[in-house]
């Protein structure tokens, strides 16, 4: 049921763009608790998909499966034509080595609820670390790029600050710049504004909005309905480990078809 709904919306949105992310019948359990039950989803290149749903609905887990921070029990996740975290051998898929997975993750940026900046490095060092240490970019070039990224998120004057010297909103914007520094083709946002004071949320959302306008493919878990309505090309409502409803924001948010979606939207408003 859920599979059918998503496939339709994905095709709707993907009239002129191929799917960058394909999630097919993904299953995942933590012990006896099944968190994802046959979830399927397509995210066309250059679009923004917002995952909505109550806590425990599996939306964060799904996001973490896309860069293999969580392993999956079945199904497939394909980003840009490449199977994530596994390689196909016969009927089964086999988990890759940590090194192979690390290479795939370079292409997928992720922003966390709790920022997770490296506290022993300055804002600039946080951004430069992976391009220099992992991708082998010359330090001068990486620094120039990092300065440019800091400027883009409005923090040009904070390059030398340690995370402890920055506000939550500033830290999150540095975290976005850090993820962008590896030049990812996909950005994952896991409740990026949930840990922020209300007056700091706007700055972070502005940066994300700009990123979307620049054509970045984004998958965002959030409770910011306004952001979903204004920026998303596709809104996916999840509950109990399944996709309940998916489609254009004006359809899912303003004219939800399912009772569960209506109840949830009622509760966040």
């Amino acid at each position: 049921m859920s599979t059918i709904t998503t496939t339709r919306t994905a095709q709707d949105a993907a009239v002129d763009a191929r799917p960058l992310v394909e999630i097919r019948r993904v299953r995942k359990s933590f012990g006896a608790h099944q968190v994802l039950r046959d979830v399927s989803l397509a995210v066309p290149e250059g679009t923004v998909t917002v995952l909505l749903g109550p806590s425990g609905s599996g939306k964060s887990t799904l996001l973490r499966c896309i860069n293999h921070l969580e392993s999956i029990d079945g199904g497939r996740i394909i980003v840009d034509g490449e199977l994530i975290g596994y390689r196909q051998a016969g009927h089964d898929i086999h988990e890759m080595t940590p090194k192979q997975i690390a290479r795939q993750r370079r292409e997928i940026g992720m922003v966390f609820q709790r920022f997770n900046l490296f506290p022993h490095m300055t804002a600039l060092e946080n951004i430069v670390e992976a391009p220099v240490g992992i991708a082998g970019m010359p330090r001068a070039k990486a620094r120039a790029k990092a300065t440019e990224l800091l400027d883009r998120v409005g923090l040009a004057d904070f390059a030398g600050h340690y995370p402890a010297q920055l506000s939550g909103g500033q830290q999150q914007r540095v975290a976005i710049a850090r993820a962008l520094a590896m030049g990812p083709k996909l950005m994952l946002f896991d409740e990026p504004t949930s840990a922020l004071d209300p007056e700091l949320v706007g700055d972070v959302l502005d940066v994300m909005r700009e990123l979307a306008n620049d054509g970045m493919t984004m998958i965002v878990v959030t409770h910011e309905i306004g952001f979903a309505r204004g920026v998303a090309d596709q809104v996916v409502f999840m509950d109990g480990g399944v996709v309940v409803e998916a489609g254009r924001p004006e359809d899912v948010i303003d004219r939800p078809q399912r009772q569960r979606t209506r109840d949830f939207l009622e509760s966040v408003r």
């Binding site: 690390a102 370079r106 966390f112 022993h120 240490g133 590896m182």
Partner: protein
Amino acid sequence: MTAVEARGVALAPEATDDDVRAIPLRRPWRWISAAVVLLLAAGFAYSVLTNPNIDFAAIGQFLVDPRIIDGVWLTLLITLVAMVVSTVLAVVIAAMRLSSNPVLSSVAWFYVWAFRGTPLLVQIVLWGYLGLLYEKLSIGIPFTDIVFWQADTNLLITAMVAGILALTLNQAAYSSEIVRAGMISVDEGQREAAYSLGMSPLYTFRRVLLPQAMRVIIPPMGNETISMLKNTSLLSVIAVLEIYTQATVISSQNLKQVELLIVASIWYLLMTSILSVPQYYLERRFGRGSSRNLPPTPFQRLRQAFASRRPGPAPAPETKAVSAV
């Protein structure tokens, strides 16, 4: 300044009755207790300095005796080798203990249990007697005839080697718990953030987790280093010629036991004092980012102290009164 005066003038007419001085509580017992303690300390110092049974000239003489100096170098060498090797071993044991492999973590647990649960002195003597247990030592694959290297135990394990071995293996057990505590103290989100950027597990450990763990590891490791320096004196039971053994050897000849104990103590104090300097700078280095402002180094503090004593008018302190008017 002018603003403050202006404010005082403005308030003066109706504030005359409220213009009182606040006098802090007098605390005579502070003076009395300080005087008593100083008197006791002075009495003790006098009794020591005027004691005819202490040969102060001998202390001065043996402080720089070549045998004592040799002992000092050996003590420092043993401390250095034992600390470096035990720290490497400790990281391995801590990694085993944190591993999801139950065999590795059990073996690590057993190691810590055994070496922490028996007295260091017993371990030192035991290693000294290794030759009684195994006549020959060899490196090869267990339960096969394949042997890469072999040597006679008594030739290989001299008293010095046995001593270093005992101190190292014992210290590794304690240090591994310190390293483990440091690793646990780092937030799980750090690993996830590093992985999401495409860092490998080893790179993540080296560049992200270890530097943060070091902040927790350094202070207790400083303590352990100082303990290690003092524990080298236990090697006197297997006749390793470190400073305490040297001191007892000399005093058994000239019977100036107390003087030589004082000589050894002076050297121990000097060495432990010097050891706390690198600890301070290491803590500072790994404390980056943890506090908003790093404390100044002693040199910076000195410079500040001199700067503030420079003659000339001190700048007037900022006052918020200006905005209050």
